[in-house]
Amino acid sequence: MTGVLAMTEEDQMDRFMERIEAGEKIEADDWMPEEYRITLIKLISMHGISEIMGALPEKEWVPKAPSLRRKLGIMAKVQDEMGHGQLLLRVAEDLLKPYGKNRGDIMQDLFNEDLKFHNVFHMETKTWADAGLIGWLVDGAAIITQTDMLKASYGPYARALQRICAEEVFHAQHGEAIIMALAEGTEEQKALIQEALNRWWEALLMFFGPASKSTTGSTKQDATIKYKIRTKTNEDFRQMFFDRYIPRILSLGLTVPDPTLHYDEAEKVWKYAQPDWTEFKKIIRNEGPRSQERLNLRRHSYEHNAWVRDALAAVVN
């Protein structure tokens, strides 16, 4: 007998890679190799949980936002981030089905610290300028990496990213508007942005991940490129970030806190001082400046509201 049933694992893999090479979209119920599924689960649940953990640093500034309009703006942004988390966790949940796992398990993985969240969301927010800088540069950085995955081979992720990227553009504008207002303001306000940039610079460089395995011992970029989930490397993204934002940072009269940073005309690349990758490893091990506080807040509110989820499950109608 021939046909689908008789296809060996090897045949299925060949067929799968043909589809990937042909630029076809893989859907949730399609056959996929274990490595592909696991790569996606890791990537998408980390992305989803980072959106949710990422709401916490900005949320700190929601009640304090310095005008009614800014209060409205930042509330809307934090809401969008939670919405992104919701969208992505649904995509991850579909991938987890064969393992009999769901959203509750994703949350438990976060609490057990098996599932990590993005390095930038472990950082402290000290002033209102941080709220602006997160929107302007962190969301700006996210747009760069996420836009690259708009054509990801996994259809449900690519479609979620379409919507997310559209909203991220508004977030970057929201952040830029806060920064512009401060840049055009008093000396004290200008100082707030410079001080925020100084504190965030290394975290921004780390955002894109290490250039190669040799830096930190591991990087997820290889499998994601092989399966056409993304096309560019971590370093490509970092260079794109420099291209886009260095001119804007300088035009605001700000100084990049790296005196070695320059564009090498011959090599056509930005040369910069490496951030402390040992620190990066610590941060993503949840040993960053605010890692444990934010995890605790999430853990605690999850446990504290367990009675509500129990009550909802018990309502029959």
């Binding site: 949710i52 304090k64 509330m75 919701q86 207002a181 055009e184 504290h304 129990d310």
Partner: protein, 270 residues
Amino acid sequence: MSNVENGMSKAYKNAVTALLFQLADDELLYAFRASEWLGLAPHIEEDVASSSIAQDSMGHAVMYYKLLEDLGVGSEDDLAHLRPANERKNSILTERVNGEGYYMETPQYDWAYHVVRSYFYTQAKKAKVDSLCQSSYEPLVEAAMKIRMELYYHRLHWETWFKQLLSSTDVAKEKMQQAIELVMEDFGDMFSFGKDKQAIEENNLLCQEEALKASWKASIAPVFAKLQIEVPEIPETPHLNGRNGEHTKDLESALATLSEVYRIDPAAGW
């Protein structure tokens, strides 16, 4: 009906101003407390949904403060951020903390309290907004018409939570009953106009206090009947009347937080 600026008597303008402060301060404080829940709601879908309600309420606060600004009372941001606690006219219920703990640390917020406060407050807001649609002050009528459209969804949202949690586990029922008691203790000034009662009522800015109470009771009665619980009594005299600038410590801490950055330099652009 054209009482705006030109030709408005001083007494009429004072009455409008007094009412607008009550409406604006209620919405600001309610939205502020709701925004402290961001990221901490019982599940992610709820976080998104209740955040949208908090934003709408903040939007309503902006509309009312803008009307005050239009009357020449002051800039909307100064009015929202700089007035001291004893000049605030919000009801006590809206200023109450969500539970133990500061939002920047690890707070123990009470979802049952949030549901009951939101449901009762939203129904009270509905009673007022319906009446404001017939106000003698035309700009208030326009604002009320816009607000009324969004209120439908808010009421539905909180009513659903209210019904669900009161028809579920014993733990949920008990927490809800406790929350109802707590909320009602502070409900005495919800429909009060304070010392501006006569001015607000005589100028037909809004219907009378007693009519608002009746409208609120009528709006929640069917839900209570279905749940087989009694409609709670509104306290005759409030223990503190927010409409007269009497407040709890909770308001002071709320104001300190919401104006912390603005106060660095109120003259600067933010």
